[in-house]
Symmetry: C2
Amino acid sequence: MEEKDAKSALSVNSGVEQPPIVNPNAFAQFKRKKRNPLTLEEYVDGIRSGNRTILSQAITLIESSLPEHNELAQQIIERCLPYTGNSVRIGITGVPGVGKSTFIEAIGSQITALGHQLAVLAIDPSSERSKGSILGDKTRMETLCADPKAFIRPSPSAGSLGGVARKTRESIILCEAAGFDVIFIETVGVGQSETAVHSMVDFFLLLMLAGAGDELQGIKRGIMEMADLIAITKADGANAMKAKSAKIEYQSALMLFPATESGWSPLVETCSSVDKVGIMKIWEHIESYTSLVKSNNFFYTRRKEQAKYWMIEAINNSLMRNFYGNEAVKENLEILEEMVLEDKISSFAAAKKLLSIYFSSQK
Amino acid sequence: MEEKDAKSALSVNSGVEQPPIVNPNAFAQFKRKKRNPLTLEEYVDGIRSGNRTILSQAITLIESSLPEHNELAQQIIERCLPYTGNSVRIGITGVPGVGKSTFIEAIGSQITALGHQLAVLAIDPSSERSKGSILGDKTRMETLCADPKAFIRPSPSAGSLGGVARKTRESIILCEAAGFDVIFIETVGVGQSETAVHSMVDFFLLLMLAGAGDELQGIKRGIMEMADLIAITKADGANAMKAKSAKIEYQSALMLFPATESGWSPLVETCSSVDKVGIMKIWEHIESYTSLVKSNNFFYTRRKEQAKYWMIEAINNSLMRNFYGNEAVKENLEILEEMVLEDKISSFAAAKKLLSIYFSSQK
């Protein structure tokens, strides 16, 4: 942990010149500086002025598992809260191989060219970084990485979905306070993290491959119905025709879906990140969506619902962590679970026994 | 409460001759008999021998909110558990007006004609019984009500979804112990109860109307992806052609959905409950499904998952009830929620404050 935080602090400081180490005193000073480099005021001022290094350091505090880091992170977040909310939060998902990195690179560059400030975050609780998440591999987004109007933050280290989702949501607050008005939250469309992302974004973009065959197996059922827009990627070269007919198929499928609460009818578009075709259109759709849901107020009521949802989620997660982490519960859970599976006790009777064990251990 | 239970006890006893009231002693005896009419042994033996009156009385105990009834109900359930599991549990959903009652009447009669024992239960946490749920209105299923091989149980009285779902799941156990080998769980496809039903059934049947217009607005997004079979109802008379083309549309839509875990490809059929066309085919599909998932073991692993799920659900619901019912939490929840909505505190900081209030009140 110590080592990891030292490393993070170093890496976000990499652009800052370090004092030369000449004697033990200087070294002590350097060490102190690394451990607590900035005051609360300096963090907040730095973030508010759009200083990416300080923003990055603050996100590192959020991701840290040291209690003193979290304490400071919470103070920073609370100070930043009055300056948040002025962005469009866009969830982007798709299976590995769909071309998320090139798509984000392509659309991101066009968005910053329009004058927007873009932050790209990732939510991916899987520990296997090699499974295709773009943000583990910054080098695949060279243009955007060099773009002064873009801020790319790799995935936080592995953890529970609840933990990672919470960190991402807190990072959004800081990015907004730093002036980013477009926020991408990227996730790999294979697990439960899409639901978490869906509950923190304004717009949900699903990337799909043409040829509704094996590629689809990776997308979890239910994700399609969350999409505000399905973009069929790699619509270029020999693939262009296939993408076009996939578009028609998905369009008629979406028409059969029940209406959305937002009043928006989900769309299907084809695009090519390589040929830069169809990318701008997708951004225009996002803008149309935003103006629609702002005018019918859905944008604001949903954000309020999301804030409440995250409070309740945090409470419920914590209650469960407390229960399932209880020693007496741990000792009995497996035994009772086994009895349920063998039809020796009903699910509800087993639950009741575990609860009475838990509550009596609390006293 | 007292009155309601007395009424239930009367109604399920309605076929049993009552002793004449001649003197105060006889009356006292009669009263005692009504309050605790059967012993645990009598309940279990009655259920096991397929006695519908006793089964009905036992379900009334499950639905009762008196602690002593619940105590007895849990004992009955535990004694019945070894005799459960030998049924196909089928969830049936659709918006009001889709024709659920006539469909269940039509398919139910065919199923009992094949020699099956059919139990029809309902899960519907809404308190407005007038909104089209069939089971509040037994008279609409005259044939099935008179069928000696069928058992129809109206919806339990209003309550929280968690409570109603739990009661339905416990009723399934008793019905199976009573020898019913086909169990329908009916719900109105407009709320969250479908997810609850989906987690307690083997097969999920969605009834839809032809003409993918306004009728669809009532079906919640996500329900379509749960369906193992979509039946387009009222495919008769002038509606037959419309139903046929709806079938083709839904078929191509389903093909775009990701594969199911069961290995089953969801189907679309048209049917007419009035003309009795297509009804038998739906039952045959359910049989094919069952033999598929029994041979690939999905049937059994899923039931085990469901039993575990219900244990965890019961625990989590109880933890939350305890938290949100806590007086100190109640006093502060709204204030903190308001602060979250006004961006004065982050969702997570508010959650943390409430949790510390809760845990310190526990000691």
